[in-house]
Every structure is written in C-alpha cells, then in structure tokens.
C-alpha cells in the first residue's frame, strides 16, 4: 500500500482494508460492545426457542420499557465510570429527587414542571456534594457515595414518612412509561434519527476533505446510516402493530424510547465532540498527564458527578412512572444493575474506556436476562445467579482486554 502521506490516518484504503484494521483492533483488545452484542443475539435466540411469547411485539415493547430506566442510570454511571470513579448512591439519588418532587407537587401543590426542575436540581446538588468530597478533599468516591446511599434513604423517609407510598398523579409523567406515541410519530422519530446521522457523517466527511485528509469509502457511510435505518424501521414497524389483547388497540412506539434516545444522542455528542468530553476521557486515562496538560482535573470530576446525579433523577422519574408511585424505598437495587449494565456493555471499570451506547446494549442484556428467564418460568434465584455470573464474566473480559492492550497491572 502506498499513500500520498507516509503516516496513515485510519481512513485510507478500501472497505477490505478497513475491515482488516477493525479485526486488528479487536485482536488488540479493543472489543467495545461486541461481546455484549453477541450475548444479545445468543440470548435472543435462546429465549425465543424456549418461550413462544418472547418474540411477540408485546414482549418487545415490554423489554424496551423495562430496560429504559436501567439504561438511563447506566448512562449516568458511565460519566463517573469513565473517570474510574463510582456512584453507589445514584439509585437513591433518583428516589430522593422524586421525593422532593412529591413534597413540592403533591404536598405543597406546586406546578409539576417547576417541581420536576427542582427535583433535577436536587440531583445536581447531590452530585456537587459528591464531587466536592471526591475532587477537593480526596475522599474515595466509593466511600462518599456509600455514605450517601445510606443517608439518602433516611432523607427519603424524612420527606415521605415511614412506608410512604404516593400515587404519581400527573398524567404526563405517568404516560412516559405506560403510553405510546401515535404511529406517525414513531416514523418521524426514525426519520429525524436517520437524517441526523446522515448529515453529521456528511459534515465530518466534508470537513476532512476540506482540510485535505483522506476519507473512508463512501459506501461505508451509507452502510452505517443504512444499518440505523433498517434496524430502526424493523423496530418501529413492529411497535406499530397492534399488540393489545383486549378490545383496546395498543400500538406505537412507547413514549420513553425517544426520551432515552435523546439522552443517548446528546450525551454521546458531548463525550465525543466537546472539550469537556475529551477531558473526561483524558482524566480517566491518566489524571497526571491531564493535569500536566493544563486540564482542571478537579473541575472535570465535579461536573461528571453533577451530570451523573442529575441523570439519576431522570432514571428515578422513569421508575416512578413505571410503577405509578413515588416510594420512600425507591432506588435501592437499580444502581448495582446499572453498574452491571455499563460493565457488561463494555465500559471499563478502570476508567477512560467506554461509551453511552455500550451501556445501552449492556442494559438490554441485563433486561433481557430478567425478562427471558421470567417468561420461561425460572425462579428469581436463577435470575440473580445468572445476572451476577454475566457481570463477573464481563468484568473479566474488561480486565483481560486491559492487559492485552498493554497497560501494566498495578
């Protein structure tokens, strides 16, 4: 191969060269979400052969809805996992945000939108609190957030009372997890996604050409956007079929899906294309190098915790919407599943490696295990055992690929 420039950029060569380079990266330990995607396929085949109900459109919608709250908390955790930190309090932070919402909206009768914004503010405040202790004082995030995990349960009890359970009455909020968009809206959503992805890829391509850099074969761009379009069309199409069993038609994309997608897209954009996102990866990869490069490491950590806790409240809202109530015991369990989802998806616990999309795929794996085992009538014990096993397997893959990619074990 001869290039006009002696050093390649990774964009040169035919589709075949590109594919070969991809295989080489895989062998080098950069596997990304590939293991999780394979797990998704294997589990899908397994469960659909064991339960005739698994592949129905009703269950498909169910699976997405089940996974969505988990996805959002996993997205939240990615921001701190990328820094090699952890937030064990993310689940109860979500519960606390909703408790604040209940007091303001339910007890004091404030406007629900204002109450929701203040609930998110509560999340941001908790994040700032964690960030302060971690980045300014130097307390390990494991300890700070474990303390908060306990303390915030007390906070929820204070606000909502012992065994406090309140019905979520706001129809807009209840419908997020329980209602669907009109069928046309699903297709509009897909069109926006495909158009957005196409124009972003084209803009990147134009920019490279303008600067004088080689670009990948155009067919690869079409392939990428085409894959999004086809998979999206299959899912939207299936969700547009009436899946109701009674007289009422149940059809359309669940309202929560565009919400989760929006968080995914905006978050990925921030991580990939802004200075802040770049610095998150840098601090996660080598804090000392980041510091010497002039990056304000403490500030980046602080912001990451604020984002994490704020998104945790969004996840708390989705959980409340799903069960239709705000409870004083909310959010205790989901955080560990959230960590599991991120790690299973390929987000490294050692920091610096991972993407929101990986966490989304990991959340689908965890939700699918739960859903599928439930359908074939496995006891809850089996679900816990298998989910735990999958997590350890994923963490092992993480540690091994880290070793493969040449990082010294300390």
């Amino acid at each position: 191969m001869t290039y006009t420039t002696p050093i390649a950029t990774g964009h040169e060569g035919s589709v075949r060269d590109q594919f070969r380079a991809y295989l080489q990266r895989l062998r080098g330990g950069e596997m990304g979400a590939l293991p999780a995607m394979l797990a998704l396929v294997v589990l899908g085949i397994l469960f659909s052969s064991l339960s005739p109900y698994f592949l129905t459109t009703g269950n498909l919608a169910n699976l997405f809805v089940q996974a969505s709250a988990l996805m959002v908390i996993a997205f939240a955790l990615v921001f701190v996992l990328l820094l090699a930190e952890i937030d064990l309090s993310a689940g109860v932070t979500g519960g606390s945000g909703m408790a604040v919402f209940q007091v303001l909206n339910g007890n004091l009768g404030w406007n629900w939108i204002v109450s929701l914004i203040l609930a998110l503010g509560m999340g941001a405040f908790i994040g700032a609190f964690i960030g302060f202790f971690v980045s300014r004082i130097g307390v390990p995030s494991f300890v700070v957030t474990l303390g908060l995990f306990i303390a915030l349960q007390g906070f929820m009890l204070l606000l909502l009372g012992d065994g406090g359970i309140f019905r979520l009455v706001q129809p807009e909020l209840k419908s997020i997890m329980n209602n669907n968009m009109p069928i046309w809206a699903g297709w509009v959503m897909l069109a926006i996604a495909v158009f957005g992805s196409l124009s972003l890829s084209l803009a990147d391509r134009r920019r490279r050409t303008k600067v004088g850099l080689p670009t990948r074969p155009f067919i690869m761009l079409l392939l990428k956007v085409g894959t999004i379009a086809v998979i999206g069309a299959v899912i939207v199409g299936l969700l547009s079929v009436n899946r109701g069993q009674g007289l009422l038609a149940v059809e359309g994309v669940p309202i929560v899906i565009p919400i989760v997608l929006l968080i995914l897209v905006v978050g990925t954009f921030v991580l990939d294309r802004t200075l802040f996102g770049r610095y998150i990866y840098a601090v996660g990869g080598n804090p000392e190098a980041a510091r010497r490069a002039g990056i304000k490491v403490a500030q980046i950590r602080l912001y990451a915790f604020i984002i994490c806790s704020s998104l945790a409240v969004v996840s708390g809202l989705l959980q409340a919407s799903r069960i239709g109530s705000i409870e004083s015991t909310a959010g205790r369990e989901i955080v560990l599943s959230g960590v599991a989802a991120a790690v299973v998806g390929g987000v490294s616990l050692f920091g610096g490696r991972g993407r929101l999309a990986y966490a989304a795929i990991g959340a689908l794996v965890i939700a699918m295990i739960d859903n599928g085992l439930g359908l074939i009538g496995f006891p809850a014990a089996a679900t816990f055992l298998i989910t735990g096993g999958v997590l350890v397997a994923a963490a092992t893959v993480d540690a091994l690929s880290r070793r493969r990619s040449g990082v010294a074990l300390t």
Binding site: A8, G10, T274, Y281, N286, G294, G352
Partner: protein, 249 residues
Amino acid sequence: MGTTLVELSNVTKSFGPVDVLKGVNFKVEEGKVTALVGDNGAGKSTLIKGLSGVQPYDGGTVSFAGQEVSLRTPRQASSLGIEVVYQDLALCENLDIVQNMFLGREEKHLTLLDEASMEFAAQKALQSLSVRTVKSVRQKVSSLSGGQRQTVAIARSVLRNAKLVILDEPTAALGVAQTEQVLNLVRRLADNGIAVVIISHNLADVFEVADRISVLYLGQMVAHVDAKKTTRDEVVAYITGSKTPEGVA
C-alpha cells in the same frame, strides 16, 4: 557556534541546608543538542526543573534569546517555548496519537473539537520529524511501543512550537533499535533549529547525538565541552570528579 538561546548564570538552589546547585552556569544553543551528564544526585533534574518553571531557582539569572526572564511557573516556561518531555511521558493510553498531541490545546471549529485540523497538524508534525515507525495517527497510545510513545511525546513539543526541548533520560527504558530511532528523532529536532537538552547516563548515546556536553559534579558545572573535541575517558573523569575544571566555574 550557534546562537545562544538560553543562558543560566550563577543559578543556585538549596533544599534546607543542602545546596544542590552551587552557582551553575549553563548555555544552550539553537539547533544544537546539549547533553547534560553527571552522577546520580549531581543536580541534573533540579537544574531542569528550574528551567521548566516547576521548581524555581533560588538565585542567579536566566536569559532567553538575550533577554533576562523570570521562570517561576510552568506557564511562563511554556509561553517562552520551553517544553519538557518527562521520563514517564505523561500520555493518556486510552487516547489516540492525535488526541494526545493536542491534549490541553485542542483546536476547535464552531465550539466543537476540530478533529480534522488536529489530525492534519499531527500528521504534519510527525512528517517534519520523518517519523516512519508510527502506522497511523489514529492509533491508541496503548498499542504503541516504548519508542513510539517517546516519539509521540517528542512530536507533541514540536507541535507546540517549542524553541527548547528538554528530554529527561529519553532512552533509559528502550531497546537498541528503539534507542536508535529516538536518537535520530532528537537529531532531527535540532536540525529543525530547535535547541535540545538531553539528560542521559548512557555515554554512548551522548556521544552519538550530542554537539555539546555539559557535566555537573556535586552541584557545580565542571565542564562544557564540544563533543567532537573530547573523549569518553575525559567525560568520565569529569563525572567522577577525578578531573577538575580549568576555567569553568
């Protein structure tokens, strides 16, 4: 003789009662490689830390391009064009070469990261140093060898328009072939007009790459000699203190 870029006169540094630099004179020329040698604890790293602003000198003067300057913070040093390649390199292994080379000085286009421009500039910087060992500028640093990493760290200083590049033991952890590559790179830096200071304990490397050799002995500069006009034995004698300076204070 090249033009003098940096001249230290009578710089001192003490840690409590211990005088580590006892009035050192040191001179660095543009387009030349100056090797700084000396036994363990002679004060080489201390001298360099003063130049990079991380650990200011207690006394003496520093002149840069003929002007007396103050070097009290790393920022002052880097704004003058002084870049240090530390032994531990300070690279982020999870980022690629371009991202590392621009870390902390990213270029932007409409408030977003301008990956294309950075990639182009990184490629140009590596080409200007005739680097051929790196396959792609979008390789992750974790996939690079020690010598390649050293190359990236050195090229980063070129990208930052460094006038003086200081390398602290750049070949200490490298094998024969990789040492050769890095020394070639050091040579090309100087050929591009940059003043280079290289600290090394390996005299073979020093004689291969350096134009001038400065020897520190117990906090004093005991020799500043032309590499072509001296011998290995003479340098060793200065380092061990068995030969004393004539005229160099």
